[in-house]
Assembly symmetry: C2
Homo-oligomer: 488 residues x 2
């Protein structure tokens, strides 16, 4: 396995592709915008999924599964929703193929045309709320706190591995509540869960806020978001949580009898994160030598490399080290390959982002020590064999913290306050990152800024200071700053 040929400074986009492909995370597939998630990439996604699943269950949610196909008419029922998704959905029109009677191979059987076309779910609000109508009769049936792990399809024009693919894997929570306040709190709670996951597990700092009307989810009254900053100064929307009001209850006639025995429309939320997070993970931490995976999400946390190559005595030492690490819940692999040289192996494990590498040769064993290298800083240390497990356990924690702090420092140093449009354009062009600026609150101005700069409002942070000012573009009055950025 070769090193990543492309450095970030040279060509960030190509670097990203290298970091996805060379450590075998994913690959392009046949068919437009298709992606194969390879075993190593999938193992990282599994770690993410399992942790998120635990957090959803701890907050009272259960999993269920709803159909892939949505009858076309369902999509039309919520006016804004259909507007948002109709233009980019895969449509199933037939249910059979046949041999071409003219010998042209396999063709669609015209007699197998569906009465009503089916849309491959781009998101499941419509089919789920159509189902909830039967499930919810009384306030006793509420709240309904359901999550689904699934694949969805959005026909994207430009695709990029993990970040934007025609099909992607995700989870979508869909909850139903008796009151507005309960639904608002649920949307906020799940935003908080996402932020905690991003920061504690992905070591990826995020800003929590809400979207401007123009950037809201199609059909939502309010969209909450966690926004991360990638190393190239572009923002990544890493997860969203929507307060849907009564829009879907109205569209699908989902009502319940309240405690006073009166009929009311149900309140809703939905929230989701996807395999896009793997892209975010890559672009938060990795370097020119390859991928860096935070220890809490690393499928293999430690690799042991014998120098110059495996032999029975080394094998026994490795076994002992592995046992002591595994007792502490650390995942570890011993490299038994006889063919490749240590230098090659070191480069390979750096490429794969294994957090800790332990190497030893004959002389190390004579001195009763091991060489321990950390992937984040590439520092090497000699460590006594006795106590290696405790050392590594601490080191993994330290790496996790260091990755977060490093990313936080970068992110914080890339939030720039600007007060006029010339500065806005200059900062965007020369420095990138988030721009904290006043905005007059209109979609019109937001779209003009986007047209002129490609920057969008990423969010209106929750913890903003109220501060009078004037809009960076129009000079109209503004009560607080919002965060702009170029975004993935």
């Amino acid at each position: 396995m070769a090193k990543a040929n492309t450095s970030r400074a040279e060509d960030y986009s190509q670097w990203y592709i290298d970091i996805v492909k060379k450590p075998q995370l994913a690959d392009n597939s046949a068919g437009r915008g298709g992606m194969v998630i390879k075993p190593y990439g999938y193992a990282i996604w599994e770690k993410m999924r399992d942790q998120l699943d635990r957090m959803f269950k701890e907050t009272g949610h259960v999993n269920a599964y709803f159909p892939l196909f949505i009858p076309k008419s369902f999509l039309s029922k919520e006016a804004e929703h259909v507007e948002g998704f109709a233009k980019e959905c895969a449509v199933v029109t037939h249910h059979r193929l046949m041999a071409d009677p003219n010998g042209g191979g396999l063709i669609v059987d015209p007699s197998a045309k569906l009465e009503e076309e089916l849309v491959v779910r781009p998101t499941s609000e419509t089919i789920i709320w159509n189902t909830y109508r039967d499930w919810i009769k009384s306030y006793r049936d509420l709240p309904l706190l359901i999550n689904q792990w699934a694949n969805v399809v959005r026909w994207e024009m430009r695709t990029r591995l993990f970040l934007r693919t025609t099909e992607f894997l995700w989870q979508e929570g869909h909850t139903a509540h008796a009151t507005r306040q309960e639904a608002v709190e649920e949307a906020r709670r799940m935003q908080e869960v996402y932020a905690q996951f991003a920061e504690e597990y992905m070591a990826m700092p995020v800003i929590q806020g809400y979207k401007s009307p123009n950037e809201r989810f199609a059909g939502a009254e309010d969209t909450l978001t966690i926004e991360a900053l990638m190393q190239d100064g572009k923002a990544l929307q890493a997860g969203t949580s929507h307060f849907l009001g009564q829009n879907f209850a109205k569209a699908f006639e989902v009502v319940f009898l309240n405690e006073e025995n009166q009929q009311e429309l149900v309140w809703a939320t939905s929230w989701g994160v996807s395999t896009r997070l793997v892209g975010g993970l890559i672009m938060t931490h990795s370097d020119d030598e390859g991928l860096i995976v935070p220890p809490k999400l690393a499928p293999t946390q430690v690799v042991i490399v014998p120098i110059p190559k495996p032999n029975p005595e080394f094998g026994e030492v490795a076994e002992k080290i592995m046992r002591s690490l595994r007792e502490r819940g650390i995942s570890v692999k011993y490299d038994q390959d006889m063919k490749n040289r240590p230098g090659f192996k070191f480069a390979e494990y750096e490429m794969k982002g294994i957090p800790v590498r332990i190497a030893f040769g004959q002389r190390d064993l004579e001195n009763n020590q091991l060489e321990v290298a950390r992937r984040d800083t590439k520092e090497k240390t000699s460590v006594p064999i006795d106590g290696i497990a405790a050392y590594v356990e601490n080191l993994l924690k330290d790496i996790q913290d260091n990755l977060f702090n490093r990313a936080l420092e970068y992110r914080n140093s890339h939030i720039t306050r600007v007060d006029n449009f010339a500065d806005f354009q200059q900062v965007l062009k020369e420095k990138g990152g988030f721009i904290s600026a006043h905005w007059d609150g209109t979609t019109e101005t937001e779209l003009k800024i986007k047209e002129q700069t490609k920057a969008t409002i990423r969010c209106i942070p929750h913890n903003l200071d109220m501060e009078d000012g004037v809009c960076v573009l129009t000079g109209k009055p503004s009560k607080h700053r919002v965060l702009f950025a170029m975004a993935y």
Copy 2:
């Protein structure tokens, strides 16, 4: 929640529907043959999935994810495969909807027609082998042992919840090997894993064997199967493992350089089980009072019901019991509901198939005892509070064993040897179950028997005795018996 109104004797099909719907396992959904897997049904599937996933990983497999959409032309590449699947697949022909210019609502945008239609995967051999062509270059890349958890779509004409639905969830293993023997062994190994899972976890005895050519997977050289027997005397194909020979390697030109540096075609297997297993679980164990879930797959293994209703003192006792059970890894729930009466609750938990129910009232506590009821036999016993955890732990094991033994006894008493066609028809009609009979080995005879009796060859068991005889239909010579049955 009402009892299942329908007994098995009355109407087995309706009983099955009741057992799926009343304990809230699943429901029909909008759209033909669609199913919503409800939280309780999904929780059982999750337990199955997690255990199977562990067993796949222990046998050296890793997970990956391949695209949902298969270009139509891929399906055509393996002649038998396309024959098997073209007639029942969902076809995506367009990628956009639009507002009807004539005001007729949402229509398919004719300008968004795909150049090549996409098939929603009915199984993934074709897209995976198209990918393996890039992954496999040399014998060093082999074996490739990959599994995928995914949804698939087969346009079935008659559907039945869990057993046969248009979309279902499953896992599909796809492995690539350097030699025929290794692939043959892999297919056999995974059949063994399935059998072990079925018997140890589902408590569902299975017969391992191979399929007759007529019942083989489309594109396989050999299909291994595990066959279970349902309570109504019909067989259920519970899992299959296919030796694919070099068919897909040929179709997708997947070659490797062997150790002698010569090009060879790669050998393949594929194997899968699906949410159909939930249907098998139901029909192996459940009774007229409702579902019975084997302890190893029960999302909740024990429920505690206070009599007549919860109070603070009862709550403390329940807490203590729950702690002691959880320490042993037993999942337990305390019923805090104030509204419903114990009798209602008992019926509800029976309906849901919770393996063990613990009930107590004031007098029980005075006597320092609890009433423990097991779901499988409905026996009740008074058990001292001290030592309840050990008692329940043993009881759960006993229930698991009893369910298996009960099903095994039923299955074994429903394998009937017959030696002429009159007996064949009579046994099939009056007793059901497996019929062990001689068959002349031709597809022609197999199809004739199917036409006349609806019975098919379920499998040719691995552990069969060679025994000369004559075909039950044609009188032609036969070397061994095979198993016929009506099947789901």
